[in-house]
């Protein structure tokens, strides 16, 4: 590759609300800049994982380098860094942004600004990025580009009158976007001769090369053989290979210099040595100080994950280990449940992250999992003055030892059309929301601000929001610390035995309601057995709800006609199979799906 003047480099990302067309625009840019022929062009090049493509979301950040021959006759190097759109991955967004000099903001010409649009724009502005607005989907019948342009100017305060009006899907006006990138996004700075200072914005694990570190060079240069050091972890390595990103492949090159985006490998065995956000420098000639940006990722949501088949415990451990190599945000540690056996307590950035990990375990590692209800991290202030972080309800101390408890709170922004304001306010009220204010975006839409307990939104808040606004509300949140709350542990007793995996922590005021619903749900889920089974919800020694699964009275196969026993055998085998999918708790068999039923309490 020819040497590129720094002035011809553009490092940027695309930000958008989900479904506004971010990945499609990325595809068009890659296609138009001629990195790929049409034949090589697979739908949505940047979304590598099957799961991403299916869900239409971007989970991990990815990057690609393309060359664009602009109208001024010059060739420009584009480094497009893809960012996840979902709030669960805010931290990943943030570090990707740190590697860019500008951002293309995609807004749907029909839908206008949404909650995620705002959240991402603010993040970009926080990183001092120049934001280039683009109006997408202009060929939709419901498109109102001018209204959206005005909205961008009014709400965000970005100049948008000459924003490209495009259809990424149908390839309309893509050139305008490319020209806008050349004109409006600044070239990077930095001195190629200065000591190396590079930001790690992602990494992947490759079983042959070890960790592949994605980085943006701020100062200096990096080349094969150079001894480098990670400034936060202190680990040092000799660089084995440097290169840049083709579409879906790594292309080695001689060196990377200040302003460029690329990767290096250094026989790094452990992803934890290369924390995202850390600064890489030259070992023998270190830069003065690390780049800002390194922050340890803290999981927000925890749940227990158990193999459906107890014998698969080692497989689950191996799978989690492998996933963690590519996903430093995933945390896990072994735990044991009386009901579910050996498993792991896993920490996630949010519920979507949890679901994605769960799906990857099931899909990529063929594991059948039982997942317990997700829990946030509660702070338990004990009477002896200590404070414990509680991630597993089973570990909650005896109430007499608890002085008080705190739960995590988020600041939520909900964008909604005015007709649904009432319904959404009701919802937030039910979820113990604390109203913070409201702003009208334009005549028909408003931005509601609430403080909400995180545990009220981790289950199904998003679904409830969508259903109460007929899909029109959008939602974003950020952590806002802890708040003292009256919380209790709700235990479930099946046949008088406490089932640890079903315990959960709940706001005292809704404990009765939750307990009752939980018992009803379990009554549906637990099949009749040879004896009557009481299902009870309890707070401490106090029983607050009860249902009964009646004893099975009859299960007889009458006939075995003409000596044909095959049907009989099949029936018994089916019965035996069914039993295998049950968990034995005391003398009661509980189907695995019952452990997840707590998740669905509110949907009915």
């Amino acid at each position: 590759m020819a040497d590129f003047a720094q002035s011809k480099i553009r490092n940027f990302c695309i930000i958008a609300h989900i479904d506004h067309g971010k990945s499609t625009l990325a595809d068009r840019i890659i296609e138009k800049t001629g990195l790929l022929t049409q034949r090589e062009m697979q739908e949505q090049v940047l979304d590598n994982m099957d799961l991403e493509r299916e869900r239409g979301i971007t989970i991990k950040s990815q990057a690609v380098r393309t060359i664009y021959k602009a109208k001024d006759g010059e060739e420009y190097m584009f480094n497009l860094i893809d960012t996840p759109g979902h709030v669960d991955f805010n931290y990943e967004v943030s570090r990707s942004l740190a590697a860019c000099d500008g951002a293309v903001l995609v807004v749907d010409a029909a839908q206008g600004i949404e909650a995620q649009t705002l959240a991402n724009v603010y993040l970009a502005l926080d990183h001092d990025l120049d934001v280039v607005p683009v109006i997408n989907k202009i060929d939709l019948p419901s498109a109102e580009p001018q209204r959206v342009i005005d909205e961008i100017e009014d709400v965000i305060g970005l100049e948008a009158q000459d924003a490209p009006q495009i259809s990424a899907k149908n390839g309309i006006n893509i050139e305008d976007v490319l020209e806008a990138i050349v004109e409006k996004i600044p070239a990077p700075g930095g001195d190629p001769e200065a000591p190396l200072q590079a930001l790690i914005f992602d990494s992947v694990y490759d079983s042959y090369r070890g960790v592949i570190v994605f980085c943006r060079l701020m100062e200096g240069s990096i080349r094969k053989g150079m001894p480098v050091q990670m400034m936060a972890t202190g680990a040092s390595f000799d660089v084995v290979e440097v290169g840049y990103f083709g579409a879906g492949q790594f292309i080695p090159c001689e060196e990377l210099t200040a302003g460029m985006v690329g990767y290096f490998t250094a026989s790094i065995k452990n992803v934890r040595d290369t924390r995202v956000g850390d600064t890489v420098t030259e070992k023998n000639r270190p830069c003065e100080k690390p780049l800002p940006g390194y922050k340890k990722v803290q999981p927000m949501v925890y749940c227990g994950m158990y193999p459906a088949d107890g014998a698969k415990y080692p497989d689950l451990r191996d799978a989690l280990e492998k996933l963690q190599l590519n996903d430093a945000a995933l945390q896990y540690e072994p735990e044991t449940s009386a009901a579910l056996g050996f498993g792991f307590r896993c920490g996630f950035l949010g519920l979507l992250h949890l679901e994605i990990i769960q799906e990857r375990l099931e899909r990529e590692y063929s594991l059948d999992l039982v997942t317990t209800a997700p829990s946030v991290i509660y702070k338990v202030h004990c009477t002896n003055g200590t404070v414990m972080d509680l991630t597993n309800p089973s570990n909650m101390p005896d109430p007499t030892e608890i002085e008080y408890m705190e739960e995590p709170i988020v600041k939520a922004e909900i964008m909604v059309t005015t007709e649904f304001i009432g319904a959404i306010m009701d919802l937030c009220q039910e979820r113990r929301g604390n109203y913070q204010g409201m702003e009208y975006m334009e005549d028909t839409r408003a931005l509601l601000r609430y403080e909400l307990p995180l545990n009220e939104i981790i289950y199904d808040f998003f679904d409830a929001l969508k259903s109460r606004s007929r899909g029109y509300a959008s939602f974003d949140y950020e952590m806002a610390g802890y708040m003292r709350s009256p919380l209790v542990k709700l235990d479930i007793l099946v046949n008088k035995e406490e089932v640890d995996a079903l315990s959960f922590i709940v706001f005292e005021g809704t404990a009765y309601e939750r307990g009752r619903k939980m018992c009803e749900k379990l009554k549906e889920e637990i099949p009749r057995q040879l004896f009557e089974i009481p299902i009870q919800a309890a707070i401490g020694n106090r029983i607050i709800a009860r249902e009964t699964v009646k004893a099975m009275r009859k299960d007889v196969l009458a006939k075995c006609y003409g000596g044909d026993i095959t049907r009989k055998r099949k029936l018994l085998e089916k019965q035996k199979e069914g039993k295998k999918r049950m968990r034995q708790v005391g003398s009661v068999e509980i189907p695995q799906r019952a452990f997840m039923s707590v998740l669905k309490l509110d949907s009915e």
């Binding site: 099975m552 299960d555 007889v556 196969l557 003409g562 000596g563 095959t566 055998r569």
Partner: protein, 387 residues
């Protein structure tokens, strides 16, 4: 070499009209179709000629369908063919299933003279409204008439089938049916609860919604079941299998074979066999049946022997249907391994749950074990590698 005992089952897949609850391979057929089928049935019996030197037949069972709608001459041909290929024991139990409404004096006389010594009548209910709902072709009154006539002609072994759990049936109407049945003093009574089989009109009609509401509730259904046991007991009928009752010594020998691991050969459409440690069955497809009969014997020879695991499981889940249970010593004899080596844990657990009893070397289901027998029997299925 001494000949082994063999039961023969002959499937007659014809009926006057298919009942809406029935999922057996049976249908109304034209006389030509019946004649075509019977010719093939003969061919099939002939193909087993080589077995004649190994087995002596001591039970024969004509089942269906409704075998009694066949002209007696067809029954005669089958029996003659069987006697040609096999030695049939002097005291063989020979049963034919009949429907009240198809039995005539001529039929009964012919059966008697052909050596048929046991009649099995599908009575189902003594309540005409219930019979109508089942779309049976007979009314109750024909039953005592048929039984009286059969007695007069010398039949000393009669079974009457009844059903419980019918739509709109009450405990009272069921008790009434039992009462009328025992008044006829049959030697044997089978009582089955109605099972809604997928693919039958009854399934669609009563499985869900309004239809479901006219079926007896669980409590009523159980009461009928206990009623059967207790009521029949006071009238001298003992339960020897989950659904079968008889006077002392009048247990059905042919059906008992199925539960006790005895050998039997099934001929006719979809008929199942257990012979020489092999389980195999005929096609249930009418057309292919005609093509397969000629090779019936070769197919039997080529069939794979049952695995030891399957054999053990069956010994248990079939044997436990008999109220006398299984003998642990017989298990040992058959499989050359101690019963408790294989099933010790299961037995102990189920005994603890009062689902099984072990007494005098026999393992039996308790009354409650019978109620939930599917649960109990499923416990006797083994894992690969257990044996």
């Amino acid at each position: 070499m001494e000949k082994r005992d063999l039961g023969i089952y002959i499937h007659i897949p014809f009926c006057v009209k298919k009942c809406d609850y029935c999922d057996f391979p049976s249908a109304a057929r034209t006389p030509q179709e019946m004649a075509w089928y019977m010719r093939n049935l003969m061919k099939e019996i002939r193909s087993y000629e080589a077995l004649g030197s190994l087995y002596r037949v001591d039970t024969i069972f004509f089942g269906g369908g409704t075998p009694s709608i066949l002209p007696p001459i067809q029954i005669m041909r089958v029996l003659m063919q069987l006697r040609e290929e096999f030695e049939v024991a002097e005291d063989a139990e020979i049963t034919i299933e009949c429907n009240p409404g198809t039995l005539t004096r001529e039929n009964l006389l012919s059966y008697r003279d052909l050596g048929i010594n046991r009649l099995s009548l599908g009575v189902q209910s003594a309540n005409d409204a219930e019979l109508k709902l089942l779309e049976r072709i007979h009314s109750w009154q024909e039953v005592p008439d048929n039984v009286r006539l059969a007695r007069k002609l010398g039949f000393k072994n009669i079974n009457l089938d009844v059903m419980s759990g019918l739509p709109h049936q009450s405990v009272k109407s069921y008790r009434d049916t039992l009462q009328r049945i025992v008044e006829l003093r049959p030697e044997h009574i089978s009582s089955y609860s109605l099972i809604l089989e997928e693919g039958t009109p009854f399934y669609d009609r009563y499985r869900t919604g309004e239809g479901q509401k006219v079926l007896p509730g669980e409590d009523a259904e159980r009461e009928m079941y206990y009623e059967t046991r207790d009521f029949l007991k006071t009238h001298g009928y003992h339960r020897y299998e989950i659904s079968n009752y008889s006077l002392e010594g009048r247990e059905c020998r042919h059906n008992s074979r199925y539960w006790t691991g005895g050998e039997y050969l099934g001929v006719g459409l979809s008929a199942a066999s257990y012979l020489d440690g092999k389980r195999f069955a005929n096609t249930s497809d009418w057309i292919s049946y005609g093509e397969e009969v000629r090779h019936a014997y070769q197919r039997y020879k080529a069939a794979p022997a049952q695995s030891r695991k399957d054999a053990m499981e069956e010994f248990m889940f079939l044997g436990l249907r008999m109220t006398c249970g299984i003998r642990t010593s017989e298990f040992c004899q058959r499989f050359g391994t101690d019963y408790y080596e294989v099933y010790g844990d299961v037995t102990e657990r189920l005994e603890g749950q009062k689902l099984l009893t072990v007494q005098n070397g026999r393992v039996r289901l308790t009354d409650y074990g019978i109620d939930v027998s599917n649960r109990v029997l499923a416990e006797f299925l083994l894992e690969e590698g257990d044996v």
